[in-house]
Symmetry: C2
């Protein structure tokens, strides 16, 4: 028997007797400072939609709210189709530990048809992944689950120094070990960015993503074609004020196709 | 007795006997092609959170999903605090007509404290509102509820012609008649943009926003200080493919302060 990929092991959900309720478990392989890497939690939440027997279509929009740090251990994922139309479906998802809600989420899945298209958010010109050395990352376990190759906007090497005017980061990333891309993995990758505030104000204060939205432009065929290739990720901060900042992000594949856009708002202390 | 502002009349919710359940009504003054203007529906959804007696703090993040066109008439708004922490609270909201969910939403409210700040998304240099003539808009009723002054990226005057490479729009907007800015009005304004696809492909096909997220950088004091001034709105499309496109938007006040960022994904036919 082959060992499952760490990502598959971490995002496995078991059906319970109750419709739309699944059992999951946090994974030490994706541990963050406090609780799990938000990306893996997001992947678990969308997994509950993907595994639901009544689902129609593929994810188009997904918003996940991190209501509390998950405690190490089991959780239940509750996915409910609030509205099912002919080709679209609106989902409400909650992850719970005991009686407490730790994550809320909404998702839109849709049966998509071929139409006119043409992405406006074009990938910036950057060196190919093979030409960018892998960036050593350490400190928390989940960083070892990704092969990250920073092009610009690396995590500060020194702290408590003046910040930069802009918080733009570009990097190539893929799962480590490589794993064919799918919706849960793409969702997890959308949360791959370190907090933008570290570039603007290099100070190690507590931070935590409170809400993240992902819009999926790719369908499963495009994800399959992307395979185990690297994704080019870009993010830039927008507003920083009174304990919260947000960033806007993009995820392209090596062919330059825009697979998803993402936004998140992050709490920071002081 | 003075007549209430159309926006206040449209977003009024009446408490029912049931905790967290409110009664609302669609408003002919904000009618769109099919059902109401999405911005007014979004405002009604966040209003349910704002009016909830257990709410703590002010809105930080809000995602609204338009699951179906509202039928003209009454609806119920259901707001539930899924998680209440010391200074943050996570909400799940649904608008229902009969037994059908027509809107789902999540919100984060938080008690914010003064911190370091500094917005990175800076307002572009544009003429003052007084120097930009009011843009005549017609076709649907809700357009008359806003004083819009387009600076660039106006709605196409001719259709079925080649599109532009970029779908950027900038305009000054305020409620008509003027009304002091608050969270529901700012939420409604976030949906003020006509569909970006009309600039990229000037063709009148059915479209509809399916999900919108707003991140609030302003607090109520800043909104009060903004008063009845104009807001500078900017939006640009990102990805357009197989029936859906998304845009990223910003809302600044006349002083150049970033009040909110917003994103939405929109269905288009063909």
């Amino acid at each position: 028997m082959s060992t499952p990929h760490p990502f598959d092991a971490a995002t496995a959900l078991a059906a319970t007797g109750e419709p739309g309720v699944f059992q999951g478990h946090t994974s030490p392989g994706y541990a963050n400072f406090i609780g799990p890497y938000g990306g893996i939690t997001a992947a678990q939440a969308i997994q509950a939609v993907l595994q639901h027997p009544q689902r129609i279509g593929e994810p188009v929009a997904f918003t996940v709210n991190f209501a509390a740090a998950l405690a190490d251990g089991p959780f239940t994922a509750h996915a409910r189709p609030a509205r099912t139309n002919r080709s679209t479906q609106h989902w409400i998802v909650e992850l719970r530990q005991g009686d407490d809600s730790v994550v809320t989420a909404t998702a839109l899945t849709a049966v998509r048809r071929e139409t006119w298209g043409g992405h406006e958010a074009v990938a910036p010109g950057v060196p190919r992944p093979a030409g960018v050395p892998r960036t050593p990352r350490k400190g928390v376990e989940w960083l070892h689950r990704y092969d990250m190759r920073f092009i610009t906007g690396m995590v500060p090497r020194t702290w408590d120094v003046p910040g930069q005017a802009e918080s733009i980061t570009r990097l190539w990333v893929r799962d480590e070990p490589p794993r064919p891309l799918d919706f849960p993995a793409l969702t997890a990758l959308a949360d791959n960015f370190f907090p933008r505030i570290w570039l603007r104000r290099p100070k190690q204060t507590p931070i935590g993503t409170v809400s993240m939205t992902v819009y999926f432009h790719a369908d499963s065929a495009q994800l399959a074609a992307t395979g185990t290739g690297y994704l080019l990720l870009q993010a830039q901060g927008q507003g920083f004020r009174n304990g919260y900042f947000d960033h806007a992000g993009h995820l392209w594949n090596e062919a330059g196709e825009l697979l998803a856009t993402t936004h998140q708002v992050v709490y920071f202390k002081e």
